[in-house]
């Protein structure tokens, strides 16, 4: 039975057994990966997986159940389990599925599926991972070992159908390679992680490029030391800038805003950042890793500006949160078969600026260039932001020496306003896309 057929059948059965509304979300996947070590295969994994989640409503009472057991004989019991939960639940006027008018018209699912990924020969992963390792090792004898080196792919098919007219699905492919080399000078060990992740095989960086960059990042950290506690300009490389805008998007979560549990809650329409800051959630990005025609509850995805030219424009919603907050869903319901929809981002992007990253660093007399961080980051209730940081010290506009065991701290709101440079080096290797950014001043804690 295909996912579409199964989803429709689950909805019909739930309706027949007394559900007022029903929605089924079905996932099928196939994944394979390889890790290598010292020129040999370390492990090979290959698998298929599947699952279905069923959301039912009865008199505004919500029940949800999931299963990975698709046997015909088990499906009735599964549907009944969801209904029994609805019967035991308390009614909530906000409960409900997206209505027909919320669903919108999904864009056709273009550029999500690359047949070349499906047809990859089984030894591609092994060969590619070995090339990544070889390239990383060839850079310098101080690349002593690897935490891990690997490559893999996966193919996923999802379908969502509901009694309210949702009916959409798509297939997507993903292919990736990564390396985490360890550099060692006898005194200190430093690891760095570098990877590329794409929907299309042809877009993937070469194994050499990934191996070399990973090694370069590990080597330049050798000899890292603490610096004194001080307030200085802080530059985040594109990956770390991505983690910062992810924290901003987290604070723009419509549910946290509705509960006034986000520092952004009272600021809609206000200037919260410098004028050159534009952050969008883009569900339609061509070949984007987070692109899909519909979100996790069948609502058409779109482009939602969160911050536009410094102004807080919109929050992110799924259908249920939108209903209680008297807003419209923005197509940001995330989903796995084992969970109810929750609000998240499709592709999150900080729009790039015009200056090169070198120029951003050149503009700093003394400061910190951050290339890796530890810890979760922002407390979105207060906006307090504090993370462990690794990187390079900037002295007179040049990268001077590696730094570790320091933290970078501020408050989300203050940090957004202090962004004084945005690079032109937008990076596209995950569903969060950002260029290099610079904060005019943050607290670096060390000695």
């Amino acid at each position: 039975m295909g996912p579409e057929q199964l989803a429709r059948r689950l909805v019909q059965r739930a309706k027949r057994k007394g559900a007022k509304q029903a929605e089924a979300y079905v996932e099928l996947g196939r994944q394979s990966s390889c890790r290598v070590r010292d020129g040999q295969i370390e492990d090979l994994t290959q698998a298929t997986s599947k699952g279905a989640g069923l959301r039912v409503l009865k008199d505004r009472r919500l029940g949800f159940a999931y299963t990975s057991d698709f046997q015909e004989g088990s499906l009735d019991a599964f549907v009944e389990r969801a209904l029994a939960l609805a019967e035991a639940a308390a009614p909530n006027p906000h409960n409900g599925l997206p209505e027909r008018k919320d669903l919108g018209t999904p864009c056709p699912p273009e550029h999500l599926f690359d047949p070349a990924v499906v047809d990859l020969p089984s030894d591609w992963k092994i060969k590619t991972a070995l090339e990544v390792e070889r390239a990383g090792r060839s850079v310098d004898p101080r690349i002593a070992t690897f935490d891990s080196v690997g490559a893999g792919d996966h193919v996923a098919e999802t379908y969502v159908a509901s009694s309210e007219g949702a009916s959409a699905g798509y297939s997507g492919t993903y292919v990736y390679l990564y390396a985490a080399p360890v550099a060692s000078d006898g005194q200190q060990h430093q690891v760095a992680y570098w990877s590329d992740y794409k929907r299309y095989l042809g877009d993937l960086e070469s194994p050499e490029a990934v191996g070399l960059e990973a090694a370069r990042r590990a080597l330049r950290m050798l000899g890292a030391k603490k610096v004194k506690s001080q307030r200085v300009p802080v530059v985040l490389d594109p990956t770390m800038a991505g983690s910062f805008i992810a924290a901003v998007a987290h604070a723009a979560n419509g549910d946290a805003v509705y509960k006034k549990s986000s520092v952004l809650a009272p600021l809609k329409g206000k200037v919260i950042a410098a004028e050159h800051v534009t952050i969008v959630d883009d569900g339609l990005l061509d070949r984007g890793l987070g692109t899909s025609p519909v979100d996790g509850e069948g609502v058409a995805t779109r482009v939602t500006p969160i911050v536009e030219r410094g102004v807080l424009r919109s929050f992110l919603y799924d259908a249920q949160t939108a209903r209680k907050a008297k807003a419209r869903t923005t197509g940001n319901a995330m989903r796995g078969y084992s969970s109810l929809p929750y609000i998240g981002t499709n592709n999150l992007r900080l729009e790039p600026g015009k200056v090169g990253p070198e120029e951003i660093i050149r503009g700093v007399k003394r400061g910190l260039y951050v290339t890796a961080m530890l810890g979760r980051g922002a407390d979105i209730v207060t906006g307090d932001y504090s993370r462990g940081a690794n990187g390079l010290w900037i002295e007179d506009g040049e990268l001077a020496f590696p730094v570790q065991e320091v933290t970078v701290a501020g408050n989300l709101l203050g940090m957004l306003k202090s962004i004084d440079a945005i690079g032109n080096d937008l990076q596209f290797r995950s569903s969060v896309l950002a260029p290099t950014i610079r904060f005019a001043e943050l607290t670096v804690a060390g000695e």
Binding site: T45, A47, D69, T407
Partner: protein, 486 residues
Amino acid sequence: MSRSKRAAVPASARPPPPPPLLPVGLVERLLAAAMERGGDFAEVYVERAETTAVVLEERRVKSAQTGLVQGVGLRVIAGHKVGYAYSDDLEDEALFRAARTAALIAQSGGSPREFKVSRSPAPMYYRVAQPLSQVEVARKADLVLRADRAAHAYDKRVKVVTATYADVTKRIWIASTRGRFAEDTQDLCRLGVSVVAEGKNRERRSGYYGGGGRVSFNHFDTFTPEQCAREAARQAIATLGAAEAEAGPQTVVLAPGWSGILLHEAVGHGLEADFIRKKTSLFAGKMGQKVASEKVTVIDDGTVANSRGSINVDDEGNPGERKVLIENGVLKGYMYDALNAEMMGERSTGSGRRESFKHKPLPRMTNTYLAPGDDSPEDILRSVKRGLYCAQFGGGQVDITNGNFVFEVSEAYQIEDGKLGRPVKNAMLIGVGPEALKNVTMVGCDPMPDPGMGTCGKDGQSVPVGVGLPTLRIDGITVGGTRVSR
């Protein structure tokens, strides 16, 4: 909270066995199929997990859900290479396909062989009166409703309460070509309450508390939702009006209990055998050397009765163990899964754990704690002229290669002349594992396990863990605050 004693349950108290997860004959034939191409070792891992979750927000039960996931993971080892495949389709055809896929790792060409497995008895460090999956959902919903009422009743400044109850009843089988057949039923539950309080000038701060373990549902008769709710609310209110934390090295005192994640991050991960074998941990090659203050003794113990991180058997079928990792400051042991143990000429310490049948086992922690010392908690506080008292903690993270770890402090107070002063916010501790442990100058006589709320992530796999710590004084650790005084 008190430290539970280790105790095994007498055999006579055991309930009748539940129906088999798969026919044993099928498991044996899968092992044969997995060895078709001549591997050295094959293992079948069968899992069936039933989950329940109830979420309360905005004063009502938002959702109740149940789930069922089952599947089989097949692992074949040939030399040092691992082939892994899994299937959530339990039809014979799908399972044999998975076995043959895992078998592809071996190239030596095998000959048809038969394998027989027999049950090995396992200890029992936890057992529940009634599987949690069979406890009525309404009783679980009652816990979150009670928590909500208690949190709101605690103080008018409590504005937002979210409460979650979640449990799993997981049955596992592990059978291998060495003839081993181990099984376990692992019930696990957790109640968590999160509170946001609003003070003057609309300042909002949050608090979190909760716990559980491998316990019967009546655990919540004594570890009550009211108690959790009041503690979460207390934290949120106590931190209203907190001052900026001072950045830089300070003397810190850690409150007992959940602060044990300091050990988990600062040393625990770095003592896992995979990192040692690959020499990516800064503790590699340091066996027998002094890596911490002599006041520091660290133990990882999978056998603590009813604790969240305990395991009767690990996910490779080896019994859970108590292991001394660091004794009086000297490195004594690493944590081994079977594969790394074999490659390193050691024995498994029952540390091979995996999130589910979709994952290969990795060496992991269970319950990691610091043995108590001689100092009274009052003396420890009194000994500090100026420093930071860390009362509650968020999460932590470590880079095992350079040893840098961070540790979020969610409730902290300035210490002035041995007494608690005003609350401070946005403090985070950062250090390098062995250096931080060398700076441990006082260890309390008040050992305390955490209430059962930890989940550890490694290589994308989450497993439940326990931690524990007595009151501790660490000198000169960097506090990542926002205020620079010099």
